[in-house]
Amino acid sequence: MKKKLLSLVLAMAMTASLLAGCGAGTGETTGTDGAEVAEEAAEETEAAEETAEEAEAAEETAEEAEAPAAEGGVLKIGGIGPTTGGAAVYGTAVMNAAQIAVDEINAAGGVNGMTLELKFEDDECDAEKSVNAYNTLKDWNMQVLMGTVTSGCCIAVAESAMADNMFLLTPSGSAVECVQYDNAFRVCFSDPNQGIASAQYIGANALATKVAVIYDSSDIYSSGIYEKFAAEAANQPFEIVAAEAFTADNKTDFTVQLQKAKDAGADLVFLPIYYTEASLILAQANQMGLDTKFFGCDGLDGILAVENFDTALAEGVMLLTPFAADATDDKTVKFVEAYKAAYSDTPNQFAADAYDAIYTIKAACEKAGVTADMSTSDICDALKGAMTQITVDGLTGDGITWSADGEPTKAPKAVVISDGAYKAM
């Protein structure tokens, strides 16, 4: 009985002390800080201290976090993406890479004398939670938004950001509507652009005459690419002989789709999907003796890192991606090393997009002469103008420029997998 009471009191006290920390209007930059606060609070509760003292302790931790502010002030950048749930891989990659970029910029003296501060909020890949995360960041006095990571959430948040005239730069929100307002820009290609670019690439290089497509109809990214691919295919010297869909609820057995592709005599299979499913498709195609070329988009990036996947199966797979972790240019090597050192994981293209997003914000701030004491709306107006004038050499492309409609212009890169590594084509 006493145990139960104790656990109740403990949980309550922990919650109370943390709420007090939030109320002080300060935020932790990374997840680990939050955990530290929790641990501290828990330890103190165990020591049966008064709740008031705990609140004080939480405030102290918060003050410590605020301490290293430079003279030029702090530019608060908010980030939103899924760090829990099924899409956590993408959100976590964006959070980690953005933190690396922010740390690098701060170490090099910041932007216009300001230091950058990043606070990343989880949205669980749910539009409603994403708007909540956006509002949380607003309470934290966010000045620029780097997010959101996923398309559906981004459309909902863009609506709120438009109402507040908040500058929004999404690293990876690829649906068309993500940047429909003039305050929103993106780093990645839009879905239609990827679909069109893929079709043009296959056509221009005469890779195939009969193409089969296997796509995820329940995924915005996948179906978005497929639609534009199919529309552009009409103008190209190849025909789509089979277009087979699968859904998120049914993505382990692809023999039906592959059999149809085989029966239709396809000589290339286009896979606008993520790498987890693609690895299964490649393995099953091999078992069926289906010997065609495979072509994918940036979602296939990471396929070589899938556990228990025979990389020999991916031999000859072509993919259109802005980023390959084993590229040998200085920037990529430096970034991959920093990422591996900090998080002992290989960064994917989401991470690269986020890294570029932070540097883009930096470039735009320098161009527009943004200072930390400007209001959010003024910053947004200044950055809107600056975005169309800057050129960024990033991980995902050299000489990236933006048009006023928010779309980036950069050359699509195609890579082919040979000898278990990505090679530029």
Partner: protein, 353 residues
């Protein structure tokens, strides 16, 4: 007579609680004391309260288990969002358009309720739980497969992709399969939400204490006895279940008009959501409408207020759920609470003496 007044008093306390919360929030909003987070949460709170109350009608009053409440919400959300999107130009008055959208959501969800209810509610046992579970998943997948467009020739429909809609170049795609509906007008607000909560509560409370409500409860308590006195079991079950579905549809309309995007993900309209609503009901007290309101508010606010913990908040959320469950339902704790209450009372009387 005395008993009647007690029931009325109890209901009035619930209404007064909702109205008081509304007034306090409005004053805080006007004076600018509410954080953006809470401002953004107000409409979702109303949505979940309505859902909890409507499910409590099925679970608490009718005594049937429904595991597909999010499905009815989904039907309401999509039907109303579709209506608002197509009539954006035709009905410039936002309030009127939203009112019609709510009614459409209500009717659409009710129709689904009847369709599900007619075969299932004739049966004895847990069949409703199984069928509603399937219904929720079917609706979610169905919505994900629908493509609907509009151009000068009228509506175009496809289950394949937007290309097969054969739209004219200036035609507009309304539902884009998995991408759902985008660009729903932002018509929901806190005031409308609270009005809908009050209407829901009044409907449920009045139903419970009406002849129909007593018939429904008699079925819950003893089906054979109810049958023996000539109560039409299927009819009364269907009334309660359809009403519950219709109110979930209204909540769906409120939900869809609060966000610019509406997609049927497992997260918002899937099985997990249905269970979430059931958790509100169970923690708030089965059959206790006021409890449902409070539980829905607390459990929706909690994960957002715990954001300071970042990824650990889900863990704490689970612990809080367990603690709340023990506090509310464990016989030992209930005993202790009773003893504590008695002690307090004794102290008070001693003091007075």
């Amino acid at each position: 007579m005395k008993k009647m007044s007690k029931v009325t008093k109890n209901n009035l306390i619930t209404y007064a609680m909702v109205i008081a919360a509304y007034i306090v929030m409005e004053i805080l909003l006007k004076t600018g004391h509410v954080s953006s987070l809470l401002q953004g949460l107000l409409v979702p709170l109303c949505t979940y309260v309505i859902l909890a109350v409507s499910l409590n009608l099925t679970v608490g009053i009718l005594g049937e288990l429904s595991l597909g409440h999010a499905g009815f919400m989904c039907v309401g959300a999509f039907s109303s969002a579709l209506f608002s999107l197509t009539t954006k130009e035709a009905i410039p008055n936002g309030g009127l358009r939203f009112l019609i959208a709510i009614l459409i959501a209500c009717v659409a969800a009710a129709v689904c309720g009847v369709i599900v209810g007619i075969p299932v509610l004739r049966l004895k046992g847990d069949y409703l739980a199984i069928v509603t579970l399937a219904f929720g998943e079917i609706i979610k997948n169905l919505v994900n497969a629908i493509y609907l467009g509009i151009d000068s020739k009228g509506f175009h429909f496809s289950m394949k992709d937007t290309i097969s809609l054969n739209l004219e170049p200036e035609g507009k795609v309304l539902i884009k399969g998995a991408q759902g509906i985008t660009g729903t007008p932002h018509s929901s607000n806190f005031t409308i939400g609270v009005i809908l909560i009050l209407i829901t509560l009044i409907i449920v409370n009045n139903l419970v204490h009406s002849r129909t409500g007593r018939a429904v409860m008699s079925i819950r308590d003893n089906r054979i006895a109810a049958e023996s006195i000539g109560i039409n079991i299927t009819k009364y079950k269907l009334i309660a279940f359809t009403l519950s579905a219709a109110m979930a549809g209204v909540a769906g309309a409120l939900y869809s008009h609060n966000l610019a995007t509406l997609t049927a993900l497992p997260k918002n309209f899937g099985y997990n959501m249905s269970i979430m609503i059931l958790v509100f009901v169970v923690l708030g007290g089965i059959g206790n409408m006021r409890g449902s309101v409070i539980a829905a508010v607390v459990l929706t606010l909690l994960p957002e207020l715990l954001r300071g913990l970042s990824d650990y908040r889900m863990l704490i959320y689970a612990i809080v759920l367990i603690v709340m469950m023990i506090f509310n339902w464990s016989p030992a704790v209930l005993d202790m609470r009773k003893k504590l209450a008695a002690k307090l009372k004794k102290n008070q009387t001693e003091k007075e003496a």
